[in-house]
């Protein structure tokens, strides 16, 4: 392996299906031990990009290295070191948990398959289910099984495509603890997700939409780079009409986004003076007004809007 620290280093990856360009000119650099979040709206090309990285799809143009091997010419050498967890459950529903893991152990030619399989069962709490058919597991347990399976052969790179969709918060936290544990051992992970709290747990992020990378960096970079200014508004009296206020603010020219977070509204705008004017116009004693920083979600929605306007 070449002596650099980049586990994924691809440039200009482009992929079209028919006339539709799904990924356009994707550049991505991911360092060893990094947890890299991959975000973007539905249909933005996340899954397609991940498939190109592990040799399942051949890019139309562009090139790059994954684990030091060429993603086009040497994909067979990449595969043994990659654990790919597909977006859709892709283990055998008509095999038991144990059989699925054993099958994977044999495919990767593990030295001590039985010990590895038992280890994985224990680590992911799957032991009580080992004789259940995978198809009968609940959604969250299927995800765990998939993770157990794709980490079984101690891959150096994990490609996880929406690994926690439909998983309860406790299991998600366990999952992220596992991933951070692996990262500490030097495993690199590329994770696509739609959850903001998960995005914040990544070391770095990339946001892609309609085939283009719109922004990348740490969560902080993305938030501060968004150029948004935000006010948080909550009700001061029980009869205060928070929803009505939100609708009124949406119509103000200086306001770009109004998001409801339970009992609070987040009002954001790109133009600070316009936003201040709008807030001044609606500021009454019925509400509590505080200046806050924008969140990741506001930053992403802002990015997506920009992409659509182009």
């Amino acid at each position: 392996m070449p002596g650099n620290d980049l586990v994924i280093d691809v440039r200009g990856l482009t992929k079209s299906f028919g006339r539709k360009t799904v990924v356009r000119d994707l550049d991505m650099q991911v360092r060893r031990g990094e947890i890299f979040g991959f975000l973007g709206p539905n249909g933005s090309g996340k899954t397609t990009s991940i498939r190109m990285l592990c040799g399942l799809l051949r890019p139309d143009s562009g090139a790059g290295l994954c684990l030091g091997y060429d993603i086009i010419a040497q994909s067979e050498r990449i595969k043994p070191h990659v654990g790919y967890m597909t977006q859709r459950f892709s283990l055998y529903e008509d095999l038991t948990v144990l059989e699925n893991l054993r099958f994977a152990a044999r495919l990767y030619g593990l030295k001590s398959p039985e010990a590895d399989v038992q280890g994985a069962l224990e680590r992911y709490g799957l032991t009580p289910f080992s004789r259940h058919l995978a198809g009968n597991l609940s959604g969250g347990w299927k995800q765990r099984l998939s993770l157990a399976e794709c980490t079984l052969h101690r891959p150096r790179l994990l490609l996880l495509d929406e690994p926690t969709a439909g998983v309860d918060p406790g299991a998600r936290r366990d999952f992220w603890d596992q991933v951070h544990g692996l990262a500490a051992e030097g495993v690199t992970a590329l994770i696509s997700t739609h959850y903001m709290d998960e995005a914040e747990r990544c070391h770095r992020l990339a946001y892609i939409a309609y085939g283009d990378v719109l922004a990348s960096g740490t969560a902080q970079d993305l938030v501060s780079g968004s150029g948004l200014f935000t006010w948080s508004v909550s009700a001061a009296r029980p009869d205060a009409d928070l929803h009505g206020l939100g609708e009124a603010l949406k119509r103000e020219p200086g306001v770009d986004q109004v998001v409801i977070f339970g009992n609070a509204l987040h009002v954001s705008g790109l133009d600070e003076s316009g936003l201040e004017a709008a807030v001044a116009a609606h500021r009454t004693e019925a509400f509590v007004w505080t200046r806050t920083g924008p969140g990741l979600e506001e930053a992403f929605i802002n990015l997506m809007r920009g992409a659509r306007l182009e």
Binding site: R51, L57, L91, F103, R106, L107
Partner: protein
């Protein structure tokens, strides 16, 4: 071989997995065993059932005890069931034509007297042989039934008449389909039909299923190679194919008494070529079909011409030229000839080889097409 392209460990892992899945998929498993059994029973009973008690009309102009004894012997043989006595040739014709009776027996005037005089009177059995299978047993047995009945009668009374030449001239006329096709053709042929049906469809399904369920995406991201996956998925179905053949051979031998002249082992060995040809068709279809439904449809598209143009349903030489051309491309056509040759005529390896090479050719062409279409990636 290069371990990166083919590793026995990975290949065996796929084989083992496939067997477990096959065992769990009860319905498909039942079909694989059930289809040959069902076909054997359905076709088989059309074959050797030697149907009994077939409706028979008697047109007798003679009232001697000899003619009565012939008629009663026919009854007791259980082949015939005398349903009516008739008085004219016209009526006989009408009954046969309308299918009301299967046979008409005609006993001429003065039958008893001529018999006593040693003039060998004629006795006629007319059969409606539209379905030759149905009448074959009865017509074959008729002469024997008549002779035995008369021998019993004549013994003692006219011992010398009974010995030597048959006392009567037994005539059998098969109407409507004089040259009956040998029914034994069907059971050995069934072997090829069942193999074509299950092997093509099930391999196409097994591979398409992986793609449809998304498991192929995961499989392709592991070090397993397409060769290992394909071979690993095929092997279990070869075993299935042989089990099906064994079932049919046993049924042919023990249920339907098909005389097996040649070597069953030779049939099994040479069948490997036919099985390979069908499996390669299944694999190639799986590269075309996007989902399991399409896989079934494409398989039927292959199965129907095989069934109809191979000589299984219709005699090959009776088909129009174009149909014979298409038929000779199909592996089933050659396999049928091969099996019938070995089972019915007792052919050996030398005589069989001429049916093997067209199947090999077919196989090579299909494999070439399949490899060209096979993708290592998802796009």
């Amino acid at each position: 071989m290069n371990a990166r392209l083919f590793s026995p460990g990975r290949f065996l892992a796929v084989v083992a997995k496939e067997f477990v899945q096959m065992r769990r998929d009860r319905l498909t498993f039942a079909m694989m065993i059930g289809i040959p059994l069902l076909q054997v029973v359905l076709f088989g009973y059309a074959i050797n059932t030697d149907p009994r008690r077939l409706p028979t009309a008697v047109l007798s102009a003679d009232n001697s005890e000899f003619s009565r004894s012939v008629v009663s012997a026919m009854q007791t043989s259980t082949y015939f069931k005398i349903t009516r006595q008739i008085g004219s040739r016209d009526e006989a014709r009408r009954l046969l034509q309308g299918g009301e009776v299967q046979f008409v027996v005609t006993i001429p005037e003065n039958f008893g007297r001529d018999l006593m005089r040693g003039e060998r009177p004629e006795i006629l059995l007319e059969a409606d042989a539209t379905d030759p299978v149905a009448t074959a047993g009865s017509t074959a047995g008729f002469k024997e039934i008549v002779n035995r009945a008369l021998a019993r009668e004549l013994k003692g009374v006219l011992g010398d008449l009974a010995s030597g030449q048959d006392p009567v001239d037994v005539r059998v006329h098969s109407e409507y389909n004089p040259e009956a096709v040998s029914q034994y053709n069907i059971v050995p042929g069934l072997m090829g039909v069942v193999l074509t049906m299950t092997l093509v469809m099930i391999t196409a399904l097994a591979i398409t299923r992986e793609r449809e369920r998304g498991t192929m995406e995961h499989l392709l991201s592991t070090p397993v190679t397409p060769l290992e996956v394909t071979l690993g998925k095929i092997i279990p179905y070869i075993v299935v194919g042989y089990v099906q053949m064994l079932l049919i051979v046993c049924a042919a031998r023990f249920l339907f008494d098909v005389p097996i002249q040649g070597s069953v082992v030779l049939v099994f060995v040479l069948a490997s070529v036919f099985i390979a040809a069908n499996l390669s068709v299944g694999v190639t279809f799986s590269t075309v079909a996007r989902n399991q439904l399409q896989a079934v449809q494409v398989s039927v598209f292959f199965f129907l011409p095989s069934l109809l143009l191979s000589g299984f349903m219709f005699p090959f030489r009776g088909m129009p030229q174009w149909a014979q051309c298409v038929g000779s491309l199909l592996p089933l056509t050659h396999f049928l000839r091969l099996v019938r040759g070995i089972v019915l005529k007792g052919n050996g390896l030398a005589e069989s080889l001429s049916h093997v090479w067209p199947m090999v050719l077919f196989w090579l062409v299909v494999v070439a097409v399949g490899l060209k279409r096979y993708k290592r990636t998802l796009d």
